[in-house]
Amino acid sequence: MAHEHKLEIFRGLWKFKSNTQKIWGVLIFLTIVTIIEVALGILKPEALMGKVLGMKALNWIFIILTIVKAYYITWDFMHMRDETKGLRRMVVWTAIFLILYLIFILLQEGGYVFDVYDNGYIKRDF
């Protein structure tokens, strides 16, 4: 029985006395992140509308915050933090590699189709 939990998050910056306490701590953190996301989504600050690497800075912030949330859900709620290195890598690296590959191919192709529509004498505005 694996009762042992690693009771710290943020690389030891925030330590907890029990697993239950850690769960509430992570909930507080996830709630704050969600509130930030929603607030940014409603306010849409003008300063974050500039493009960074082909996408709005705001959208990059959303994606990064989502990955942060996903990390804490997987690591603390699904107890990935307490699994062996082998299991963790098998699950996480496989998924990350395949997903990045898929995203790259499909977005690249989508952008290409857009260019064809845009410059390729195809009329859509009627």
Binding site: F77, M78, L87, L102, L107
Partner: protein, 327 residues
């Protein structure tokens, strides 16, 4: 036969990791592998959504303008508040689930029961909210006109506020067209519900109302939709308008590209189906907890396994939330 016995004396020292290198039970490991494959399925859907969006990057519906409703608050513009609430409900039910798992480690039957119950409750609230969200989306709000080319023309007043068809369309009492039913005509031809107004009625309304303008789905450099001039508005509806669209389904979508509606139904539907089956599995586990099955077994690992599935459903929602509502 002792010569044929193959014994490399590897018991307990097969390799660095030992004979159980992952130190996880069979069931838990299989749940993880299922989750990986399911994550890839969802990624496939979301990446396909990204593909379609990049394909129509200059004409994609703005989520803030689509999901603006909150239950019991009619006419209040509340973009995203309800989805944020749904996200919070799901995260909360994830928390009660992990608390149930924790109580299971301490073999505390009473606590596991309470937390499992709360988890089921959270799941039901989420599925119910999802149904409400779908209903609002299908019913639509302002209505729009679809052109020959499949583009959507919406209506705004001179200040840029949306105008609903019901507020300006001039109803022509003589132009009543009843819905075709198989009993009153060709039995092998069917017809869906007719829109409340015809394109002509909308056109007359547009001509009669000085302050109504047409808004196309093309996005400007600022990410807002293009508003046409008065003359151009009338010309567009007159020459290109073919169909009045109210709400959204798999064929048409008053908010913009029909693909947006298709993906919305498909992805949130597939996720909602996961939540629904998660609730069913949780209910089964809940009754097993109440009946003392795991108490007798001396291990609440089953709670841990469904917990993994439940957290995964939450995890997927985090991504759906970002890519459908925020980005």
């Amino acid at each position: 036969m002792s010569t044929t016995v193959v014994n490399a004396e590897t018991e307990g020292k097969a390799w660095g990791g030992g004979n159980q290198p992952l130190k996880a039970s069979y069931g838990k490991m299989m749940m993880w592998f299922f989750i990986v494959s399911d994550a890839l399925t969802f990624s496939g859907f979301l990446a396909a959504y990204g593909f379609s969006r990049f394909k129509f990057i200059d004409a994609w519906p703005i989520a803030d303008e689509v999901f603006t409703h909150f239950p019991f608050l009619h006419g209040v513009d509340a973009p995203m508040y309800y989805v944020a609430f749904m996200t919070f409900v799901l995260i909360m039910s994830s928390v009660t689930m992990v608390l149930a798992v924790d109580a299971g480690h301490h073999l505390n039957k009473g606590k596991v029961t309470i937390y499992m119950f709360l988890t089921i409750l959270g799941g039901l609230i989420f599925v119910g909210s999802q149904a409400w969200e779908w209903n609002t989306f299908i019913k639509g709000d302002y209505g729009a006109v679809q052109t020959k080319g499949g583009n959507i023309l919406q209506f705004v007043d001179t200040d840029g506020h949306r105008v609903a068809l019901r507020d300006f369309a001039v109803v022509d009492e003589h132009a009543d067209r009843t819905q075709h039913e198989s009993k009153s005509g060709l039995w092998f031809v069917s017809e869906g519900t007719l829109p409340t107004y015809t394109v002509d009625e909308v056109l007359h309304g547009l001509e009669a109302n000085e302050h109504v303008l047409v808004r196309t789905q093309t996005l400007t450099a600022e990410g807002e939709k293009t508003v046409l001039s008065r003359a151009e508005s009338i010309k567009q509806i007159k020459n290109n308008g073919t169909l009045v669209v109210e709400g959204a389904n798999l064929h048409v979508n008053e908010y913009g590209s029909p693909l947006f509606a298709d993906f919305f139904f498909f992805i949130t539907g597939f996720h909602g189906f996961h939540v629904f089956s998660g609730v069913l599995i949780n209910i089964i586990i809940f009754f097993n907890v109440v009946l003392g099955t795991y108490e007798r077994r001396g291990s609440y690992e089953m709670v841990e396994k469904v917990g993994l599935y439940w957290h995964f459903v939450d995890l997927v929602w985090v991504f759906v939330f970002t890519f459908f509502y925020l980005v």
